[in-house]
């Protein structure tokens, strides 16, 4: 018997059927109560006190407390929640950046991230350098980056600015380039954390279209946003997190309505809501302040 037929006979692994499986995941941060305790000087001068750990008392912060959900291939999941709900933490855990404290996360496919803090490269460097570095950091070869370079700059409409240092970019230009890089790396799973709030209406339209294009190719997208309009328009599935726990999961319209009610935002008539979603403004812009 060949090994091929043996593997065909094996029962299918349920983990492989989903794009993302989050299984009872907890993420705890340890923060030192006294920030000065993070130094050699402090450790040496407090040696011997309280068993040598003097002042290094840590406070455990439970950012995510036992969250489980599965995401199907080709779906768009929105995550809403108040500040401090653990949305960004769970995104970093899915990206493999933060290790879970317990539980398990399974991701099938190439992960690309567009997280709150930006691409994370040097503002002194030109846009070109940052695009190349971003691609190489994601594990592409130099040739693969070169192939995508034109598409990326063209999509971001930054051809004339690509050789200028990134520090001279506006936040909109920065956001456009970051979005272009992360979506052009052929991701199977794209994680977007509050990256859509800096763009103007034209860019938002374009980024929605780009995401639709990815979804049509059975790619999976997870979006964290305070822009309820974006969640309602883009997502076919929604999660509301609060204080590290999953409160509700369901249709984006229903979950976001409940979430807004919980937040104390008066429910709006359906007509007004449709208009707001239509021009991509309204609520989205009203909540942008929270993104920062």
């Amino acid at each position: 018997m060949s090994s091929l037929s043996a593997s065909e006979a094996a029962p299918p692994d349920p983990d492989l059927g989903y794009a993302i499986r989050v299984k009872d995941v907890r993420v705890d941060y340890r923060t030192i109560v006294d920030p000065r305790a993070n130094t050699l000087r402090h450790s040496l001068t407090h040696l011997g006190r309280r068993g040598g750990s003097g002042g290094r008392a840590v406070r455990l912060i439970h950012a995510v407390r036992g969250v489980s959900f599965d995401v199907e291939h080709g779906s768009v999941l929105g995550i809403v929640g108040a500040n401090g709900a653990g949305k960004s933490t769970i995104m970093r855990a899915i990206a493999g950046i933060l290790p879970p404290s317990s539980g398990e996360i399974v991701v099938n496919g190439r992960i690309s991230t567009l997280l709150a803090l930006g691409v994370g490269f040097n503002g002194q460097l030109s846009g070109r350098d940052n695009v190349v570095l971003g691609g190489l950091a994601a594990g592409l070869s130099r040739r693969q980056v070169a192939e995508r370079f034109e598409q990326i700059t063209a999509w971001a409409e930054l051809e004339e600015f690509i050789d200028m240092p990134m520090k001279s970019y506006s936040s909109g230009m920065y956001g456009r380039l970051a979005f272009a890089v992360s979506t052009h790396l052929d991701p199977d799973v794209l994680l977007i954390d509050e990256a859509l709030s800096t763009g103007d209406a034209h860019f938002r339209r374009k980024s929605y279209d780009k995401m639709q294009e990815l979804v049509a190719q059975a790619r999976t997208i997870v979006i964290v946003s305070h822009g309820i309009g974006a969640i309602r328009e883009m997502c076919d599935d929604c999660i509301w997190m609060h204080k590290g726990e999953l409160v509700r999961r369901g249709k984006p319209d229903e979950v976001t309505a409940e979430y807004l009610e919980f937040q104390g935002v008066p429910p709006e008539p359906a007509k007004a809501r449709d208009e707001a979603a239509g021009d991509l403004g309204g609520l989205d812009d009203a909540m942008v302040m929270e993104d920062v």
Binding site: D15, L16, Y29, R30, N38, T39, L40, R41, S43, R92, A93, I94, A95, G96, I97, L98, P99, P100, S101, S102, G103, E104, I105, V106, V107, N108, G109, R110, I111, T113, L115, L117, G118, V119, G120, F121, N122, Q124, L125, D129, V132, L133, L136, A137, A138, G139, L140, S141, R142, Q144, D186, D188
Partner: protein
């Protein structure tokens, strides 16, 4: 993190086997090196590009930056030459400047590996919080940068060496294993420094004192044979210094064009491999925790 069971290094074609990642709750512990090392290898172009871009951002790739890279080691050599000249009442051999430069350049390379590695994790916090790179690429990039800055020093050395009329020959190639030993030894210690800096944010304030004292205990300002021949307490301490055999061999080969004692090269190789393996293990055991600690 990085406990990924990725089937293959990322290839972007439709036929590529799908990636499969499992992230579990192991905060420390050595990751599976069978997946970690290929991921690291896949980032080799990233390391080179980041090193080049960093140097360019510091203006080291334009004409004046290059000039500074040559001037700086010469000035540094001059500082120590004056110091030793005064302390020894002018009694040193005619080719002393060459001896001094050879050791000083190599030692500066070593100490800049340590100091730059120490800052590599803290200085890239945004990158660490936003991407799933094998963290080892960050100190490795700093080692590459240190190497790129070291190269112009060698041009200065070759010029001085020629001007002083010192011999050339095939034995100069013994400097190569000595150099590799120093690089591996420095890399191992650099990985440990990078890890320590995450836990003790003032570690890099202590580091310059350590490297300065280590400089004086290494055969840079003086020659190894001369001190070892004294058979006093100091000579025993010097003999214990891991850098002694490496820099001693480097100086013999490069300045005098003689084959260094095989024992020196063997001892240096032992230290280098041990430090490198320890450094890598310490770093990769801890690197999962970096994103929580930043």
């Amino acid at each position: 993190m990085l406990d990924t069971q990725a089937a293959a290094p990322r290839t972007v074609s439709a036929q590529a086997p799908p990636e499969h990642h499992v992230f579990r709750s192991r905060r420390s512990g050595v990751p599976r090196l069978r997946t970690y090392l290929p991921e690291l290898w896949a980032r080799r172009e990233f390391v080179y590009e980041l090193a080049r871009c960093t140097l360019r951002a510091q203006n080291y790739l334009n004409a004046f930056g290059q000039l500074w890279l040559v001037l700086n080691p010469l000035l540094m050599g001059a500082v120590y030459y004056v110091l030793v000249d005064i302390l020894s009442n002018g009694k040193h051999s005619g080719n002393y400047f060459s001896v001094l430069l050879a050791g000083l350049f190599l030692y500066t390379f070593f100490s800049s590996i340590l100091s730059q590695s120490a800052g590599s994790i803290i200085g890239s916090s945004r990158l660490i919080l936003n991407s799933r790179l094998p963290r080892l690429v960050l100190p490795i990039t700093q080692i590459v940068i240190a190497f790129m800055r070291f190269m112009p020093c060698m041009i200065v050395f070759l010029a001085v060496h020629t001007l002083q009329g010192l011999p050339w020959g095939l034995d100069v190639f013994y400097a190569l294993p000595a150099f590799i030993e120093v690089t591996l030894f420095g890399a191992g210690l650099g990985f440990i420094c990078a890890t320590l800096q995450v836990y003790f944010r003032d570690f890099s304030n202590f580091l310059p004192y350590v490297t300065r004292i280590w400089l004086f205990l290494s055969p840079v300002l003086w020659e190894l044979q001369v001190q070892l021949a004294k058979h006093d307490l100091k000579s025993h301490v010097i003999a214990l210094n891991p850098l002694s055999p490496m820099i001693g061999a480097w100086g013999d080969a490069l300045v005098y064009n003689i084959a260094p004692p095989a024992a020196w090269l063997a001892e240096g190789a032992g230290w280098a491999v041990a430090a490198f393996v320890c450094g890598v293990l310490v770093f990769v055991r801890r690197e999962r925790e970096f994103s929580v600690r930043l």
